[in-house]
Symmetry: C2
Subunit: 338 residues, 2 copies
DNA sequence: AAATCTCTTGCACGCACGTGCAACAACCGG
DNA sequence: CCGGTTGTTGCACGTGCGTGCAAGAGATTT
């Protein structure tokens, strides 16, 4: 219990010589107050340094204005870009972002959602990890809306936003084929995230469709270091690949660095590489990586548009799954022709 | 006003056959409840899916448990690393992070702080931008604690955490001197942030102390692209520098890329570079940048330790300013000797 | 002038919670 | 058997706010 207290509507009312209701009404959109009392209230509020208590307001309205963002690996370029966009657009929509980091200790998504419920968040957006079905139901039952980004398990209830993997697989394959590449590889992490596995499956399937085979290697956590290790694994093989699709730009950067500095390979002449995410580093002149850009702004806007839509909570007939396209950004890590 | 309603303590009480006070007490640390009623309440709560409403609890206790993080350029490697650490440690301290992004539109720090006040955040941590003195006072008067990171203006009241610039300037200079560099430069952005300007001043001062001069160039926003531009400006001069201290690792990466790929310079043989922040990319093998690591974890822990300390708000006799040391990480962008 | 309408205002209640106070039961020592 | 102690429980009030309801003040119509 803290000692000092915020200034309340009561004090403003007394100072302005009106009732507390009048104060409440001046700060409520669309309430009926005369211009004069409104003016007096605003002046008194200004002088006292009054600010509406959103905790109490949320209590009354049963709507806190809080949206909870649940994510791990926040310091990663892609994640931080998505978070940036989400927070920005949330603010524009008049909501405020509460943030929960689920690094270290797993099962923590459930704990995160519990926190969200405790603070009566209107909605939660989950960027990584996946809640138990029981928790999901709890959220929905409490009127919480849920958005899952790039996590296409078949959870009923929440909105799912993800990217079209099949199209990606096909486009990478035709790019490699046009470059005259023969020995294809896919470099992945062991994270096993649906989006990563989806890209892998799509690429392999596309290759099989053209009668080609793909060497798939997975290692470690989805970062630069894993990319280097994967390069060592793949480039020391007898049948060295001449085209690698990396599940992530971070993997691709590590892969490229190892390929060039340790193996002395020239990219794209001897080795073609495609990444995914279009992180800022992909455009740096040490990489100039051909990659897929996630439509980050659109992901954010679709998510927020959905969760601020005011409909029946069980959402029969509502859209529950959105599939977006990733845009291929041509740079210089894939050659045009052999 | 939303239609459906959360489960309230009242309902739990009815289901468990006790009074609402009993429910409240089972969920309050250190309250007096018998083991039996506690058990019954917990079971009823579990079955109904009850969660304490932290909005209402915050209302009563005058302590919301919310800490507001105010920052811009969140997708930047250094910022996102700091945010990661802060959110993680806040959670460990039993608090929750509310996040406000101050990109686009300035004066937005004030608006951010207003939001923090509206949600009755116990404290705010400001990573960039600077609030008006009036707002600062408002916060303190309302019992909000304030932490400014790397923003050493002489605001009274908030805790200020920043790094020892003088030591940094001196160490870079001796490193360059030992490498036999003659023509020094400092590459900075036009942001004019206190921390950036502090490094600049310290480096220039250290050079003057040894009777050397420094070419200072500033350009644009603190990012990769600005680093490239600065490289062009500095490396096309008649007297081309052979040692550059970049205010930021991002600037340094851009600078290195331009120096190598556009000017064909070899680093560190023909050009020595030092950066600041020790972002992840600094360790990538395309850069291997010698740089200063900010003690991110310590910054976060000191901030949180301070703001969860429970003392008189006006804080006479309390520490209000913390000065930490940045650690020099030796990699390969500065040669050992000529 | 009377009747009707519109606009504003205050009262009182409710939202979900914490907590001081008194009542009460149980237990113990005398 | 009684007074005192300890531990638990419910009542009632307070936290800051929104809002339905009815009363009041003007303004307009008949």
């Amino acid at each position: 219990m803290r000692s000092k207290i915020f200034v309340s509507a009561q004090e403003v009312a007394e100072k302005a010589g009106v009732s507390r209701s009048a104060v409440s009404r001046t700060f409520t959109q669309g309430a009926s107050v005369s211009a004069e009392t409104r003016e007096r209230v605003l002046r008194a509020a200004e002088e006292l340094g009054y600010h509406v208590n959103h905790l109490a307001r949320g209590l009354m309205r049963n709507e806190s204005g809080i949206v909870c963002l649940i994510a791990s690996e926040v310091a990663t370029p892609y994640r931080s870009a998505l978070l940036r966009e989400l927070t920005l657009q949330l603010q524009n929509a008049g909501k405020i972002a509460m943030f929960i980091n689920t690094d270290r200790s797993d099962g923590s998504v459930d704990r995160a959602l519990q926190q969200a419920i405790r603070y009566r968040a209107d909605a939660s957006i989950i960027l990584s990890g996946l809640p138990d079905k029981s928790i999901t139901e709890l959220c929905l039952r409490n009127g919480q809306r849920l958005v899952l980004i790039n996590r296409d398990e078949d959870q009923p209830g929440p909105l799912r936003i993800n990217l079209d993997d099949d199209e990606v697989g096909g486009r990478v394959l035709t790019a490699f084929a046009r470059a005259g590449c023969r020995r294809l590889a896919f470099a992945n992490s062991e994270a096993g995230t649906p989006s990563l596995m989806g890209r892998e499956r799509a690429f392999v399937a596309a290759a099989h469709g053209l009668g080609m085979d793909v060497i798939v290697k997975r290692h470690g956590w989805t970062g630069y270091e894993a990319g280097r290790v994967l390069a060592h694994r793949l480039l020391t093989a007898k049948e060295r690949p001449d085209a690698v699709f990396c599940a992530t730009d971070l993997l691709a950067c590590g892969f490229m660095d190892a390929a060039r500095h340790q193996f002395g390979l020239s990219i794209p002449d001897e080795l073609c590489i495609v990444g995914f995410d279009d992180i800022e580093q992909a455009s740096w002149s040490s990489y100039e990586l051909t990659t897929f850009a996630q439509p980050v702004a659109e992901i954010a806007s679709r998510a927020i548009e959905w969760l601020s839509r005011f409909g029946p909570k069980d959402g029969k007939g509502e859209v529950q799954s959105i599939r977006l396209k990733a845009e291929l950004i041509w740079r210089k890590s894939v050659r045009a022709k052999k």
